[in-house]
């Protein structure tokens, strides 16, 4: 095959491109945190998931133990069904509870798993019974205003 006098420089150029791709995948992206670990799936029903999205983190004591796989709406119970993929090496008691929490004041939402006390452990396909919905800012504010109004009303006749 014919040689080209540019082979060396083109080789360096291609290498530079590969380095740039690698930089973006490892330093900017999250390729290292994409785990190929085996997981088991559990479900949880929530009255309101707020802004939870698929691929959101599932954390326990602040450590990422899994990811949200899918979110569906159940037309029988009118609740949101969230499928959680939890890594196989982490096991939780059967009566663990799931909460939807927010990172920071306006940050992204994640699921916090709090372990219960039961001996039996969660296995694939189980349902987490105790759940706590996302805090919706609007309802929180309206509740606060309602309480304020109630306080104001009750304080008047006491005079």
């Amino acid at each position: 095959m014919q040689k080209s006098r540019h082979d060396l420089w083109v080789g360096l150029f291609v290498l530079l491109g590969a380095a740039a791709m690698l930089f973006m995948a490892l330093k900017a992206g999250n390729l290292l945190s994409v785990s190929f670990e085996e997981t088991y799936q559990v479900h949880a029903n929530f009255d309101n998931i707020g802004g939870l999205k698929p691929r959101a983190a599932v954390k326990s004591a602040g450590v990422v133990v899994g990811r949200v796989e899918a979110i569906r709406f159940d037309t029988k119970t009118y609740q949101a069904v969230v499928d959680l993929e939890v890594q196989k090496r982490y096991t939780f008691p059967k009566d663990s509870s799931a909460k939807i929490l927010t990172a920071g004041l306006l940050g992204e939402q994640y699921i916090g798993l709090e372990p219960g006390a039961e001996e039996k452990e969660l296995v694939a396909g189980d349902l987490i019974r105790q759940t706590q919905s996302a805090v919706v800012l609007e309802s929180l504010i309206s509740q606060f205003l309602y309480n304020k109004a109630a306080e104001g009303g009750s304080s008047e006749p006491r005079k």
């Binding site: 095959m1 014919q2 040689k3 080209s4 540019h6 082979d7 420089w9 083109v10 360096l12 150029f13 291609v14 530079l16 491109g17 380095a19 740039a20 791709m21 930089f23 973006m24 995948a25 330093k27 900017a28 992206g29 999250n30 390729l31 945190s33 994409v34 691929r55």
Partner: protein, 261 residues
Amino acid sequence: MSTRRLALTVGAGVRRLLENLGYGARFLLGLLMASLRALRRPWLIVEQVHFLGNHSLAIILVSGLFVGFVLGLQGYYTLQRYGSAEALGLLVALSLVRELGPVVTALLFAGRAGTSLTAEIGLMKSGEQLAAMELMAVDPVQRVLAPRFIGGMIAMPILGAVFSAIGIIGGWLVGVVLIGVDPGAFWSQMQGGVDVLRDVGYGGIKSVIFALTVTFIALMQGHECQPTPEGVAHATTRTVVMSALTVLGLDFVLTALMFSI
């Protein structure tokens, strides 16, 4: 009478448009077929990658660095109002990887490499070199156009990746080194928000599509130009204008398709 003339003008215009579209599609198909055959002469492709890629590296590196600088400054200015300057890394990385990397690289590539392709082939045509090749039973599409096409398709995605990477470094220089955003938060926010497949991968696909578009437009303009000095000049101008408009329009469609969910 005047309605008749209007109908004739509109009809001729539509017909010319359709003809051009059909010819362009046929040209692209022929170019793709010829590219498969041109793979047998890889040294010709290497020459073109060197010419289109290595020589464009300087402008890509400098532009990428400065786009990163500006993103760092402007992003910090807006984000610090909301007390979330740590998200600067995410903002810089996402805007570069998803949009600015592929698009600005395509525009620069059209200006730096596309014009030289058009002018080169246009001059070869006006010097009757292409006709001479055909007389010698050498297919000019396979021998001249196809290696340039493949070369552009290889060089531009690499340039796009280099642009995004150097831009992120530029954003880091301004954000972390100059302004003093916390480096840990800068990188961890970036890694938390940038998805390798959905962001970096789709950006790469965009780069490949833009490479095909820009290289194809440049080659076709060169091949179809009037073989006169004015013709080559017009073709070179059209390459830049058409490439820029097509890339920007296509970018909107691709973004809507890829990131709308």
